[in-house]
């Protein structure tokens, strides 16, 4: 299963909550340099799957490999250190920090000064230029001095992406990056993701199927924790099981 063109792969991944199996025997490989989408009805286990991959939750069974490392038992901060960076379904920023500081905190880790409590914070100004560049990339440079908590929802997502990019990730995991966004914002984030994908692999959960259709090279469908289908958009969307799972869900009854 561990093919050299896979940056991330998992084998027979299982996660149980009590008697309930949220992720059920998922085996998956993400090819380097692609945009890989995970779709599925609500409660399919997509976020749980991300939590397992990033080691926010321990897996009940299975193995995970990332970029040549077995990360099955690694701590979450170490996984991030290896270059797998995630965003959250509920946008995660540092609300009392300014936008600039939000991005700088990420830059700072690689800078290796994060322990220096005796040093002046002025040293961090060296990182300002790079932080501004990243904010510029997501269209937020003009608000660099604002407190992040004041941003409207869609803008917080952009900030979150800028912060993730500061780490220069090899693999970016995005959990519904466009949820709750206005149409023109969706377009902007879509362009941004396409641009980011030039330099890093992307694994994303997304409900907006037109976005998935235009962005994703590869699509994995999860339903009730299990892998239902995998392939290109054309392949997946014509799969009768996928259609049934989605229609079943729309009727408010996922348990067909």
């Amino acid at each position: 299963m561990d093919r050299p063109d896979h940056i991330l792969s998992c084998e027979n991944l299982v996660r149980r909550f009590g008697g309930f199996t949220a992720v059920d025997d998922v085996t998956l490989g993400v090819r380097k340099g692609t945009i890989h989408a995970v779709i599925g009805p609500n409660g399919a286990g997509k976020t749980t799957f991300f939590n397992l991959l990033t080691r926010f939750l321990p897996a009940s069974e299975g193995r995970i490999r990332f970029d040549g490392h077995d990360i099955t038992h690694l701590a979450a901060d170490r996984v991030a250190g290896l270059g797998m960076v995630r965003s959250f379904q509920i946008s995660a920023i540092f609300p009392t920090l300014t936008l600039l500081e939000n991005v700088r905190v990420a830059l700072q880790r690689q800078d290796g000064q994060s322990w220096d409590f005796w040093r002046s914070g002025k040293r961090l100004r060296r990182l300002n230029a790079r932080a501004l560049e990243l904010l510029d990339r997501v269209g937020l440079a003009d608000r660099a001095q604002d407190t992040a908590g004041q941003l409207p929802y869609g803008r917080k997502r952009s900030l979150e992406i800028a912060t993730a990019l500061a780490l220069d990730p090899k693999l970016l995991l995005l959990d519904e990056p466009m949820a709750g966004m206005a149409a023109e914002e969706i377009q902007r984030i879509e362009d941004l993701i396409r641009e980011i994908a030039q330099g890093c692999t992307i694994l994303m959960v997304e409900h907006n199927l037109s976005v998935v259709a235009s962005l994703a090279d590869e699509i994995t469908v999860l339903a009730q924790g299990s892998l239902l289908a995998q392939g290109s958009y054309a392949e997946v969307s014509s799969n009768p099981e996928v259609i049934r799972a989605y229609i079943g869900n729309e009727q408010g009854n996922a348990h067909v």
């Binding site: 926010f56 701590a75 991030a80 700072q108 880790r109 409590f117 005796w118 300002n128 660099a144 912060t163």
Partner: protein, 359 residues
Amino acid sequence: MSHVSTAQPDTIGMTAEGEREGAIVAVASNTNRRALMLLVVLAVAFAFAPLVIYPVFLMKIMCFAIFASSVNLLLGHGGLLSFGHTAFFGLAAYSTGYLAKNAGLTPELALIAGVVASLMLGAVFGAIAVRRSGIYFAMITLALAQFVYFMAVQNPQVTGGEDGLQSIPRGALFGVIPLNGTALYVFCLVLTLFAVALVHRIVTSPFGHVLRAIRDNRDRALTLGYKPERYQWIVYTLSAGLAGLGGGLKALVLQVVTLTDVHLTNSAEPILMTLVGGIGSLSGPVIGASVIVAIQYYLSPFGAWVTVLQGLIFIACVLAFKSGVVGLLTAIETRIRQFRTRQGDKNPRGRTTDEQERS
């Protein structure tokens, strides 16, 4: 050319890179400058206050200001509520007092020994406490502090039991300068300023930025590759050492250490002071300590009513003035500035800095 004035924030996005950065530095230092100004005012006030106010009372305030600063560091910037800081205050007070009295150490050495003892205890307690968060963290710190109190009660040969350590000698600084009168007062003032400056340094350092990020959003910090427990452990240890500085100094100033210095109620006071003064602000702990110690001192004839009054102040702070006296001052200053801008300027676009004083 100097950097872009902060009065035109709209231009930030349009100017060249270099000027944009200049503007950023200017905004940041403007907030800083106001915080520093308030501190300077307080320092000058404390420098001249002994002319009219009983110096030992002022020095007691300073000891508690240091203690409250340690809580402010942990709670205001680390987001960690400790109910057990009395353990570090008390341990240092006993250590300093014992060594000055029974080992004949000079005051600065006795004080350093007290701080080191607190740092070490803080490192041990911190390693245990940061494994949990929220209310569990608070409960662990409380339990550990109870343990220290118990040890103090159980070892009267060291702590003097119910009597405590009495008539602790202040000695001579470096064995040369006798610590009394003006010398002692200056010593206290310098240490208090040192403590406040140290907290400021820590929270504005590269470490401090990470700490605030962890307080804001622990999971997000984790995805950036930070290990929250490590940072929290460091800030807990530093905070313990600072609490120790307050305790050790108290032993030298008041020349007594009793069980009340390790008692749990002594944990609540610096929290109250921090809240009253303004949580997360530079001068808040000094102001809070002044208010609370003054209430205890001047209203002591009313006995139990002092506790009731403190409780009411506490509730008022939590409900109404979340950012304490410093927050109130900042709000007033902002109002005045807005008023002036409206009066004097045809183009009323001056930056209304309603941000809290952030140190």
